[in-house]
Subunit: 386 residues, 2 copies
């Protein structure tokens, strides 16, 4: 019996840490281990590494280092953006109204829902088209006098669709309303220049671009009022308490620099693999359709709705065949209901139940794609025959 | 000229990561890198490591694994305890009143203050004696019908005093009020059995016991209502969203197991070093006094008030002599004002300004202590002569 291969096609869920990133982090556990808040040499050596990382990240985002807040993950960054801005704005009497897209990651949508249900905020959920795209004009129409924050993600985790963030940002800016984008999913592949994107807040997570899980960034444009949601020491200029995780922050900065520097070459390669996957699935599997935008999508992201199969069953059989895939967000695993994102596209339930996400990455090869395209149609046929 | 030594006496600020802990973490960046929420084999391998770590931590705390919430740091654990319990209790109509000691870490005291100032809670700050100890009877007297949470730390970071947590817990339990203890500072050295301590919530941070910075624990006793403060995916049974930092969680569990298993032997050694430091300072420096409790204190913790010097000046001169020390909390560095903790002891300002904390650890030697006791009196004399 041939050995089962081990093919990882779930780079949207998480990525392995780049060995160059591991190497960059290594000195900071046992050698340069000081608390960066301490004034002695141990502390100052750690603080120097922390601030160098902050400058590196700021350079990628084209902002000032003071506008970078290090957090423990993308979810925390999104939470801080929404809670921090919403609660600060209300305390200042500016209003009570949030505008959020209906295809956001749960870190945004559940936070908006909690602000509504437990803190009395009013939330407008924007419409999206069949590809999950927000029409910037709809954002303009949703803005009210009491709107305090708009949140629309850069690229969707489940369906790969890239949003017209710069256009939305232009509208938000004209109205003087802070605009947050969850850039977690696109962080390693898309342009993150905050002025071109016209955003006031932007969330990143290192583990989506070959850095470690457990460290993130929130960019906060100067003079954006923010009530901290994690209070204690005055770390991160009073915006996020907690002794900084120096090794991971160094790792995040290293991973971000590498991913951004290599992105043109990497994206071209990923896109070719992705396009073969998409074309292959649509050709060989009847009643399969692409979800998300056909062209305005992440270069590594192929997602499908396959009628008449259950996403979970598909994943189990793919796993047995040695292919790691996802039915949508990893965070939503185990939930047999179709995701809100797929339903927001207007996809009928019998299609939305059979969702499949294949996301390629640095280690994906042509052979991996060929093997997947060989195995997947047979698994679908077998499941449909049951 | 003799080479300057490099003596680290700031183990209360942070500790180097134990090489055994680094070794335990290593596979989880590049090999077992799956997202623990994914159902494929990559995800399940990560989930298995995560749940094994949870069981290890639960064993040390003598609780069930489901009562363990992994967080990004001790500050986050404290924030989640206070915000989560206070906001959930108010939503359930149980009340609006918090009881907090005046010698808490800022992660507790600033969070209580924000709950008061921005969320309308009422806070009672307990009295403490000259050693910073809470009298359990005072807790009993402070309890009201609308009290929803009591928070008193296990051991103080600045002055080392250990609180009578079990006695306070007994009172809280009789009245049916959730009781949180910030055990961050004592986590590696003290008993953490949550039933013996009679606590409902307990915060830990790995970097205080030779684990990495950037990972913590909140123990939450079963059936303690908690409004999550970080929303998104359903991680940690809905209590803390964000993809789990598997390597650090494995590291935390490893570090906690090691520290707890070795604590009797380690504490005896640390206490001997500490006692030499205390005796030496009090003998050789006129107008120096111990801060915190003389016997009910952390085994590695020596803290002083030295009249007529500025803590910051002392630290700079010690650093030049090769000794890393602290004037109190690392998080408070750069603030020339005496800390609230020292003022809560009733220490006069001219004493409180000259605070010095020397905390020994695994790598501290007899020679380090001897050198420090040789250098420190001369630095104090020189500063006083200026």
């Amino acid at each position: 019996m041939a050995e089962t291969p081990s093919i990882y096609l779930d780079h949207a869920a998480t990525t392995p840490v780049d060995p160059r990133v591991v190497a960059a982090m290594m000195p900071y556990w046992t050698e340069v281990y000081g608390n960066p808040s301490s004034i002695h040499r141990y502390g100052q050596a750690a603080a120097a590494a922390l601030e160098a990382a902050r400058r590196d990240v700021a350079e990628v985002l084209a902002c000032t280092p003071n506008e970078i807040v290090f957090t423990s993950c993308g979810s925390e960054s999104d939470n801080l953006a929404l809670r921090g801005v919403a609660l600060a704005a209300r305390a200042a009497g500016r209003g009570n109204h949030l505008i959020v897209s209906p295809v956001e990651h749960h870190a945004v949508s559940h936070t908006a829902a909690q602000l509504r249900d437990s803190f009395g905020f009013d939330v407008t959920w924007l419409p999206v088209d069949e590809y999950g795209r927000v029409n910037p004009d709809d954002v303009g129409r949703a803005i009210r006098d009491d709107t305090v924050l708009i949140s629309v993600m850069l690229a969707n985790n489940e369906i790969g669709t890239i949003q017209p963030v710069a256009e939305i940002g232009a509208i938000a800016r004209r109205k003087g309303i802070p605009f947050h984008t969850d850039a977690v999913q696109g962080g390693g592949m898309l342009d993150l220049n905050v002025d071109r994107l016209k955003v006031d807040l932007l969330a990143l997570s290192a583990h989506k671009f070959y850095g470690p899980k457990g460290v993130g960034v929130l960019y906060v444009r100067k003079d954006t009022p923010l009530l901290p949601m994690l209070t204690g020491g005055g770390h991160e200029r009073g915006r996020r308490a907690g002794t900084q995780n120096v090794p991971y922050i160094v790792g995040l900065a290293t991973a971000l620099r590498l991913a951004q520097a290599e992105k043109e070459t990497a994206n071209t390669r990923l896109q070719a693999l992705r396009d073969r996957l998409i074309a292959g699935v649509l050709e060989t599997i009847p009643q399969a359709r692409l979800t998300g935008h056909p062209s305005e999508r992440l270069p590594n992201h192929a997602s499908f709705a396959i009628r008449g199969v259950q996403g979970q069953d598909l994943l189990v059989h793919l796993d047995l065949a040695g292919i790691a895939a996802s039915s949508g967000s990893a965070c939503n695993t185990g939930n047999p209901e179709p995701s809100e994102v797929l339903l927001a596209l207007g996809l009928p339930r019998e299609w939305a139940l059979g969702s499949l996400r294949l996301t390629v990455g640095r280690q994906t090869t042509d052979e991996d794609v060929a093997y997947t395209l060989d195995v997947l149609p047979r698994i679908v046929a077998r499941l449909r025959a049951l």
